[in-house]
């Protein structure tokens, strides 16, 4: 959890807006440090977190979260965190085994034309409160879905339409019905064809329309710099309850070992 980012977004683990769909995007840079922020943020806020980790292993997130002060293994044990390790689950599908082990969530690898329905079923089953366990579901706050990242689904052959359907269903279930939050990461490339319907840029446009808050990470327009890793543009898509903070904000950031620091343009400590 980065305290500067919390003050920029005007949130804290004690009070944050419910029913938000936060979209993280990057173009030729890496926005995954924001995923770690939101993961530790919502775990500290005592929410029930469902994390779909498609690109890295559990130990990676666990080690980084430990540096940010949150233990994923403990959260998993207590039942606060549901972790889907996409890499591990995919192996049983990619290399056909005799016995079928693992969840059905990664079934889109068998035939991407089927879409992400199984993945959605997995998410909704983990996120909805179980009928019998009313007592245990009271201790955790609203459910949160984190996805890292959606563009790898596109590279594995899923269509943009299917991913948009998936995010729409998830938003309807988690944000509208259960008043929880959603955070999704989409990674783009600089060069895309305008007419290409299956590019991540197309997906990004569709998701930006659905989202309530977008954080767009880009490299510096002047090139690579060691002290300033890039810039983040924060856009609120929906008007806040009291009508404040609807302006777009632009910040520069630097990622270091235990977190990230955000500062206004031109005020980096290396420059001043």
């Amino acid at each position: 959890m980065y305290t500067e980012l919390n003050s920029i977004l005007n949130t804290s683990p004690e009070s944050f807006t419910k029913g938000d769909f936060i979209l993280l995007s990057d173009k030729q840079s890496d926005a995954s440090f924001l995923i770690h922020h939101f993961l530790s943020f919502y775990l500290r806020a005592k929410c029930k977190v469902c994390f779909l980790a498609m690109v890295q292993s559990f130990s990676h997130y666990s080690t980084v979260s430990q540096r940010l002060g949150v233990s994923l293994a403990q959260a998993k044990e207590k039942g606060q965190l549901v972790f889907l390790e996409g890499l591990q689950e995919s192996l049983s599908i990619l290399i056909p085994q005799d016995e079928h082990t693992g969840s059905q969530a990664m079934n889109f690898l068998r035939d991407p034309k089927l879409g992400l329905q199984d993945l959605y079923e997995f998410v909704s089953s983990k996120v909805k409160r179980s009928c019998g366990g009313e007592a245990e579901s009271e201790e955790w706050g609203p459910p949160v879905l984190l996805v890292d990242d959606l563009s790898v689904l596109l590279t594995l052959g899923v269509t943009v339409g299917a991913v948009l359907d998936f995010s729409h269903y998830c938003q309807a279930t988690i944000c509208s019905k259960l008043q929880g939050n959603m955070v999704m990461l989409v990674r783009c490339d600089q060069e895309e064809d305008e007419g290409d319907n299956e590019s991540p840029a197309c997906l990004l446009k569709g998701l930006t329309h659905q989202s309530s808050l977008t954080l767009d990470v880009q490299g510096l327009p002047t090139g690579y710099c060691r002290d300033i890793h890039g810039q983040v543009e924060v856009c609120w898509q929906r008007r806040q309850g009291d009508g404040q903070n609807t302006q777009n904000k632009l910040f520069q950031y630097k990622v270091h070992d235990k977190g990230a620091s955000f500062f206004a343009r031109g005020t980096s400590s290396a420059v001043l």
Binding site: T63, L94, I95, V152, L156, G157
Partner: protein, 380 residues
């Protein structure tokens, strides 16, 4: 006053009968000590040398175990092949296991051409020496009169079985001697030996790479390279070095390089995804060479790069007008570092300099910072 002192002396003498020194280095149990590896300075990850010491320095000390290095080939696949051979030769010298896959030629041919290491302390294992040791130890038990503190320590072998250094140098003009090469066990995957089964519906998406992925998983499982298995194993853990030559080329049955809108658009990326899944849970490192200059689709190249961990591109001057350009006189080509991962940490360490040029010398593959001043070119 005397009583506490007595107790202290007694404790000290008690302790000294068990160990010669009370200093014990704290080693976390999860750090495996495998010859030819070392922990990273930045985040404690286990690193292996890529065989090229200057490349190790660029990539943050070496290749992390469990990752993939993607080398975008130069036009004639000369220097990328050299780096692949350095990688495999390093594995032989460190006594790692090798897995080589190729479609163009027999992987055995690649293994015959490994460069010879330049080392004084790489010992060729002679089986004759082994039976002498038990009888030798009996004589030496009585001989420790002065250095009696070292009597209980195990006898150190004078002939090193495997080199303990990290990163070695190779002489490209000579090939590795067969005795040294045969000391390291290797698995070969030659694509024509594995005809594609059309009946397998599960792996239809991997296309031509399904047999390769399955073979890799079998080797990792059977030889015990999975991390969970290595931890509980009483035998010495080892690292598997995987070299995949020219993936994505037409010889693998993939039409990525042949057409603008390939039919097997997702096979290679799905294979890379499966490879990442395999490697993250095993003690293995993979180096893949890819003829990226044949792939027209830049977005696809971006996807491939993102699904590998380290990514470098080689651009050789051979056959281009830069070969005779006085600016590039000392170098054989340019090297671009496209991506360096940040595993288990938040920030990655990209090399400071973006303009890198390489030169293949007889005893060293050197990579240096070469500032290219474009205004000099235009005026000259």
């Amino acid at each position: 006053m005397a009583a506490p002192m007595e107790r202290v002396i007694k404790q000290q003498t008690e302790r000294s009968t068990f160990k010669t020194t009370s200093f014990q280095k704290k080693t976390r149990s999860k750090l495996l000590s495998i010859p030819g590896t070392r922990p990273s300075v930045q985040n404690g990850q286990l690193l292996v040398s890529s065989g090229v010491t200057s490349l190790d320095f660029l990539l943050g000390g070496g290749l992390a175990v469990g990752t993939v290095l993607l080398i975008e080939e130069d036009r004639y696949d000369s220097y990328s092949r050299v780096i692949l051979k350095y990688f495999l030769a390093e594995g032989v010298v460190c006594r790692h296991r090798l897995f080589v896959a190729a479609a163009q030629e027999n992987p055995d041919d690649i293994l015959q051409e490994l460069p010879a290491p330049i080392l004084d302390d790489v010992a060729i294992p002679k089986p004759v020496e082994q039976p002498r040791l038990p009888c030798e130890s009996q004589e030496s038990l009585d001989s420790m009169k002065i250095a009696w503190r070292y009597q209980n320590l195990p006898k150190v072998q004078t002939a090193l079985v495997s080199s303990s250094r990290f990163g070695h140098y190779y002489d490209v003009s000579k090939t590795m001697e067969p005795e040294i090469r045969q000391a390291a066990k290797s698995h070969c995957f030659y694509l024509p030996d594995h005809p594609q089964k059309t009946s397998n519906t599960h792996s239809q998406f991997l296309g031509p790479y399904s047999a390769l992925l399955k073979s890799l998983q079998e080797v990792i499982r059977q030889e015990g390279f999975e991390v969970a298995a290595s931890m509980s194993n009483s035998q010495n853990p080892n690292v598997l070095r995987i070299g995949l030559h020219s993936l994505g080329s037409a010889l693998w049955g993939d039409d990525l390089c042949c057409s603008d809108s390939p039919e097997h658009r997702h096979s290679l990326v799905t294979f890379l995804y499966g490879l990442r899944a395999l490697l993250r849970s095993s003690l293995a490192v993979a180096v893949i060479t890819l003829p990226s200059h044949l792939i027209q689709d830049r977005a696809l190249m971006g996807n491939i790069t993102r699904l590998s961990d380290y990514s470098i591109a080689l651009e050789s001057f051979k056959g281009s007008e830069r070969e005779t350009n006085p600016l590039y006189r000392d170098y054989h080509g340019l090297l671009h570092v496209r991506q360096v991962p940040h595993l288990n940490c938040l920030a990655s360490q990209l090399p400071d300099h973006k303009d890198l040029a390489f030169k293949l010398k007889r005893k060293q593959f050197s990579i240096e910072f070469h500032p290219v001043k474009s205004h000099v070119e235009s005026t000259g």
